[in-house]
């Protein structure tokens, strides 16, 4: 009716959403999932730190071709600084691949029950019969898991960036942008999960989330091979898969933000098992945002229609 009333209403609705989002954290604390997740993450980061520390201590001790392993044996001469940056980047890309995979798993496992699991076991029925819209319930729960993802990504991937910086001395050009892109990757996984959970059973949702993440990863590899071998068909398939699920695309853009400038000369030959870096493309960014938005709108429509 009046603007004040509408504002109050908006505030009330926001409060309800935040209340539901906060439940995610309360549950995590009470069920000790946050504690376990934190301890195992610390273990992972510590292992990564130890590995990086020893690798670069060795490197510092003998900064000559002997320490360059296979590259040195081939008789190639490389600038030690360049070699050092490349090694650091490789460590980092490996670590970030694992951490982004863990983040995706976390999101899939937590989020798969967001709607369908709670609808199946009868938790949701007493919530949605309160004066809340189903959209609020969906967004509240999405925000809860998204906030877990933000904290997890910043802690885990941020730690890897920091440890690499400390032990190797390598300073990636755009670490904050890389973190944002990794976050976006996780949010897209969460978006897919939200869409699936509003109509599919919990297990089917989990499988869908993981499979799409895996398909996107394989698609990225097919695209790399296609580019490497100059096979247009393979490249086109890989490209199409990025439209199906743009998660790998965001991961590779994140890597692109961390690549040493001196590596640019290697271009598309810089392929690797964990994805080749690529530059930030405005089209890909927009597509990712649209994709996430479409997932949430689709989830809201499906959830509203669903019989509980």
């Amino acid at each position: 009716m009046n603007p004040g009333g509408r504002l109050d209403d908006l505030r009330a609705r926001t409060d309800q959403m935040l209340l539901l989002a906060g439940l995610t954290w309360k549950e995590g604390v009470r069920r000790r999932t946050i504690l376990m997740g934190f301890l195992l993450t610390v273990a992972f980061v510590a292992l990564y730190g130890v590995g990086t520390y020893y690798a670069f201590r060795q490197f510092d001790a003998q900064p000559d071709s002997a320490s360059m392993g296979g590259v040195g044996a081939l008789g190639m001469t490389l600038d030690p600084d360049f070699y050092r940056d490349m090694a650091a980047y490789q460590m980092l890309s490996f670590g970030l691949f694992v951490s982004s995979f863990l983040a995706a798993m976390l999101v899939v496992f937590l989020g798969a029950g967001m709607i369908s699991g709670d609808a199946e076991n009868g938790t949701l029925q007493t919530i949605v019969t309160r004066p809340v819209d189903r959209v609020q319930v969906l967004l509240g729960r999405f925000l809860g898991y998204a906030s877990v993802l933000v904290v997890y990504t910043i802690l885990l991937s941020g730690s890897l960036l920091l440890l690499t910086r400390v032990f190797s001395g390598y300073a990636p050009p755009h670490p904050v942008q890389a973190l944002l892109l990794l976050l976006m990757q996780g949010l897209i996984v969460l978006g897919i999960v939200a869409l699936a959970t509003s109509t599919l059973p919990q297990i089917a949702t989990g499988i869908t989330g993981l499979m799409l993440f895996g398909v996107a990863f394989i698609g990225g590899i097919v695209e790399q091979i296609g580019m490497f071998l100059r096979n247009d068909t393979a490249a086109a398939i890989g490209d199409a898969v990025h439209y199906l699920a743009p998660t790998d695309s965001f991961f590779r853009m994140a890597l692109g933000r961390l690549t040493p400038g001196s590596m640019a000369v290697m271009g598309e030959f810089l392929t690797g098992p964990f994805g080749a870096p690529k530059g930030v493309e405005v089209g890909a960014l927009l597509y990712g945002l649209l994709y996430l938005g479409a997932c949430l709108v689709g989830a809201a429509v499906l959830f509203r229609r669903r019989d509980l």
Partner: protein, 354 residues
Amino acid sequence: MSNPPSATATQAPAGSAGSAAASASAASAAIAASAVVPEAAAPATSAAAIICSDLRKNYRDTVALAGVDLRVERGAVFGFLGPNGAGKSTLVKILTGLVHPSGGQGEVLGGKPGSRAVHRRLGYLPEQFRFPQWLTGRELLSLHGRLMGIEAEAARLLDLVGLGVAGDRKIGEYSKGMQQRLGLAQALVGDPELVFLDEPTSALDPIGRRDVRDILTHLRDRGMTVFLNSHLLTEVERVCDRLAVIDKGSVIAQGATEDLLQSPGLSVRVGELPQGSFEDFAARSWSEVAPPTYADGVITLPGVAADEVPAVVHRMVEAGLPVYEVTFARQSLEEAFVQLIREHHPGSDGRAGA
């Protein structure tokens, strides 16, 4: 403001094109009158707590509700009975907005089922429910209070359902019965005008059931409307003012509880009848009820009220009937229910509702 002037004023333009001032006031009066009408009409449509007309629900090729017509007045404890799978829960889920009907209309507290405005005045205990096991009972009630935009009276509600001492324990440590008590308390958060209770006593022991019955009576005394789904007939019989029986998605009977419980009256086992004694007895003033019948040594007297039994027995003895055993049987709801369902089944295709 006042109705009579506006009523005459609206007719004024048609009758006379008199003064401009008169028609102007007539117009403003008409506007005022039309503005008042919707508000005045609202309480009239919401006099009943629940109105269903031809409510239908199909799941693929199975019919869950085949056109249900139902009216529940405010302040009533309404019992909704039916065999498993008859459509009891489906109806409640439609009225709480959880399930979308395939056709027909439902109205709850004068509004659309599932709307926020209606949910603000509603409580619901689902048949299958699960609360977050990591919350305490008190926290759950306060969560639901906050979703309602109020401060839940957790202590009062916990006391009401007999969980006063367990309020600060985790729900995961509750027994099934305790969880059901908590579910009832949850449904009562915010002092709703209407509560839907779907099998609220299924996990309770006899003491728990009696507690719930007392709570329901207490709620009715406070003017709350209760919609009770149950297959526990004695329970419904004891607390419900009115009830409906649903079978295969159709309401096959509804009305006041006592009307649905017909008394079969008195059955009297007698010895060998002296010549003419039964005819003599039967001839005496049975004008208002069906006449007594005799078969296999038992005389049946339908429609005899409990306080008439001594007089009837006295007259039998006077007539010289050798009375051995007198049984006064009020038909229980269970018998009425079984009879209704049996009557409904032959020749029924489950679509008899509308």
